[in-house]
Amino acid sequence: MVRRSTALWLVLATCAGITLFLVKHEVQEREDRLNALHTEILANQEAIQVLKAEWSYLNRPERLERLVRELSEERPADRLQRATLDMLPQPLNGDGETPVTEAAHAGGVVLPMARPVSLGARQ
């Protein structure tokens, strides 16, 4: 009787020991991985910082302006070419309300909702 309980305890203790070892090992492994990841994250953050600085450097307004001049047609956008959303013809919704009736008024042509700014109003 005594022998059986002793054996049981012995087996339990061994099991606990092995589990403990395995868990500890696992934890250590994960800690190493965590540290490695942290180092990597920091390195990446540092790289991002460099890239941000470079991005800002490349986005100097003076450089962008020069590139636009070189790479696109030499024609700055006229401020009168700007329009707001309400100047655009409204999209036709499924039920076809206002835009359609207005279009019908204009002989089937969808018209802008507002007149553009005084284009040549002075001429």
């Binding site: 965590l34 942290h38 994250i41 920091l42 953050q45 540092e46 910082q49 460099v50 941000k52 600085a53 470079e54 991005w55 800002s56 450097y57 986005n59 100097r60 307004p61 003076e62 302006e65 401020r79 009168l80 700007r82 707001t84 700014v117 005084s118 109003a121 002075r122």
Partner: protein, 578 residues
């Protein structure tokens, strides 16, 4: 013989157990008691531990986190926080950059090593490099602050004895563009000027970027247009400000000449001087905005009033006369429109020196501006405030303020009359500062109409950016030379504009120092010819970026809102509808 007879029953039988009597028994009893006590103490301790184990493992505690927490933050600390513009574009950042050094002891063949190094770092001097690599020292710097690519290239050479040391370096990707605002940090990352200095501790402690109110794009436009004017009129410097009228945020601020903060050497005092916030100047006629607003607000005159400006005013040894002299009775709008000094003086005299002084004080013209820079000029105001000062201040002489003061003051005149201190830090749009009321809403409205009048029909016609309803006032001040006498040829030509003037959003100030007239300006070097065209171009280019849509300037409701009745001398009234 009974007494000899021994009753055997009386004699106890010998027992098997040993009984110890006397001191032996006492010791045994004591030992047993001690064992019992010790045992129970241990039992108690174990049960406490057991209870604690159950408590810790079974019962949940709110105070304890469910997950293990990482000690130490994971954010990349550079030692100094970034500075960004209002759109988040980097203006200043700290990078850890590699610097190349060599341990000559491990350099096997200095000549070939030097040759190899020069293939990737061609700017190093051959002989100097060779002597460094061949020296007996254990440490020689070869090149500080390499780019990542250069570091990669050096590593690729595979020369033994070369090492890198990581150093942190403050980088200003935008270079000159925001030099005076951001300022610069010296060695050891100590802020030397600008925001870098005024927010040194904050930048050092924080890791969150510091967001400024500056818009890089507008800043660029402002700088470029001012540079254009300097080049065209051979000026010695310029300053410009774009300021939000409602929040008093500075959207752009330029002082020329400027410097590259990335280069730690070779910065001249002239370049480092911030003309926009540190320099104080007698602003000239732009002060008539304040003068007129003051007179209208105190009610000493009205838009239908006027003054005789037919003769120059003589006081002491001075003569005050008009630049664009009309030599007749001028109404208040005309005095403003033609920038009449004589009329302005009379207007100010009606208000009186005491009240004028109080007005200037309310505008903040008696103390340094609130802007977050160490470079803040203290205004120069007369003390005591004599009648002659009242006269000259009416047209902007005898009091010197910084351009920031001027722009900030004009914002208060047109935004409905509320003065909010200028700032370089981003304000959240919903937390509008309360501010201090300086003039009535009605006066502010009148000022707006007068400003429009100047651009539509007065001295500021060159600032008319079509569609953006620019209003403004020119200013041409003679700079005082050595000994206090004014120099006729050394001018400070400025224009302060507001757009759109019916609902002001931004104040634009452009100022050119000592411009010289040229053919395109018919020899003039006045504010209307030098600074006004710059403001026009700045508005045209910056307005789309600032989300100000062009309007039809001839729309009836706009014309009605900005109409000014110009009273005539003989009671006739004419409508100023040009």
């Amino acid at each position: 013989m009974t007494h000899t007879r021994i009753d055997m029953d009386d004699i106890p039988k010998p027992e098997k157990t040993v009984r110890i009597e006397g001191s032996g028994k006492q010791a045994l009893e004591q030992g047993r008691t001690r064992l019992l006590i010790a045992g129970s103490v241990f039992a108690l301790a174990f049960s406490v531990i057991a209870a604690r184990v159950v408590d810790v493992s079974v019962f949940d505690r709110g105070a304890e986190p469910n997950l293990a927490q990482e000690s130490g933050s994971l954010t990349h600390k550079t030692g100094r926080a970034d500075i960004v513009d209002r759109n988040g574009m980097l203006l200043a950042t700290t990078l850890s950059v590699p610097s190349l050094y060599a341990d000559p002891k491990f350099i096997m063949d200095p000549a070939s090593a030097a040759e190899k190094i020069r293939t990737v770092l061609p700017d190093l001097d051959q002989t100097e490099l060779l002597s460094k690599l061949a020296s007996d020292k254990r440490f020689v710097w070869l090149k500080r602050n390499l780019t990542p690519r250069q570091q990669y290239d050096v590593n690729k050479l595979g020369v033994p004895g070369l090492y890198f040391q990581r150093e942190s370096k403050r980088i200003y990707p935008q270079g000159r563009l925001t030099a005076h605002i951001v300022g610069r940090a010296g060695f050891d990352d100590v802020g030397l000027s600008g925001i870098e200095r005024s927010h040194d501790t904050l930048l050092r402690d924080g890791s969150e970027p510091l967001r400024l109110s500056v818009d890089l794009r507008v800043q660029h436009i402002l700088r470029e247009e001012l540079q254009t004017q300097i080049d065209a009129f051979d000026g010695i410097g310029a300053a410009g400000i774009v300021l939000d009228t409602d929040t008093s945020e500075i959207v752009a601020m330029v002082s020329l000449p400027d410097f590259d903060p990335n280069r730690r050497d070779k910065i001249s005092d002239n370049a480092i001087f911030n003309r926009a916030s540190l320099g104080v100047y007698e602003m000239g006629s732009t002060f008539k905005i304040f003068n007129t607003a003051m007179a209208l607000d105190y009610g000493t005159t009205s838009l239908s009033g006027g003054y005789d400006a037919s003769k120059p005013i003589r006081i002491a040894r001075f003569t005050i006369s008009d630049y664009h002299a009309k030599n007749r009775w001028l109404s208040v709008p005309e005095i403003f429109m033609y920038s009449s000094n004589v009329g302005s003086v009379k207007m100010a005299m009606d208000v009186g020196g005491e009240r004028q002084r109080a007005f200037m004080e309310k505008l903040g013209f008696m103390k340094a501006s609130a802007i977050e820079l160490p470079e803040r000029g203290h205004p120069m105001a007369p003390n005591p405030w004599r009648p002659i000062n009242t006269m000259t201040i009416s047209f902007g002489h005898g009091i010197a303020v910084s351009p920031v003061h001027l722009a900030n003051g004009v914002a208060a005149m047109v935004n409905g009359g509320i003065h909010r201190p200028a700032t370089l830090l981003r304000r959240e749009s919903d937390e509008l500062l309360v501010g201090e009321r300086i003039i009535k809403e009605k006066t502010s409205h009148a000022v707006r109409r007068l400003l429009r009048l100047v651009v539509e029909n007065g001295t500021g016609r060159n600032a008319a950016a079509e569609g953006y309803l620019v209003g403004g006032k020119t200013g041409t001040a003679e700079k005082p030379g050595q000994g206090g006498a004014y120099r006729r040829k050394a001018l400070l030509s400025s224009f302060v504009g507001v757009f759109p003037v019916n609902q002001p959003r931004y104040v634009v100030l452009a100022m050119v120092d000592e411009p010289k007239g040229n053919k395109s300006s018919f020899g003039y070097a006045t504010g209307g010819w030098v600074a006004a065209p710059a403001v026009k171009r700045i508005v045209e280019r910056a307005a789309p970026l600032l989300n100000v849509a062009p309007v039809d300037e001839d729309a009836p409701e706009i014309r009605r809102a900005l109409m000014v009745k110009i009273p005539q001398a003989k009671g006739k009234k004419a409508l100023a509808s040009f």
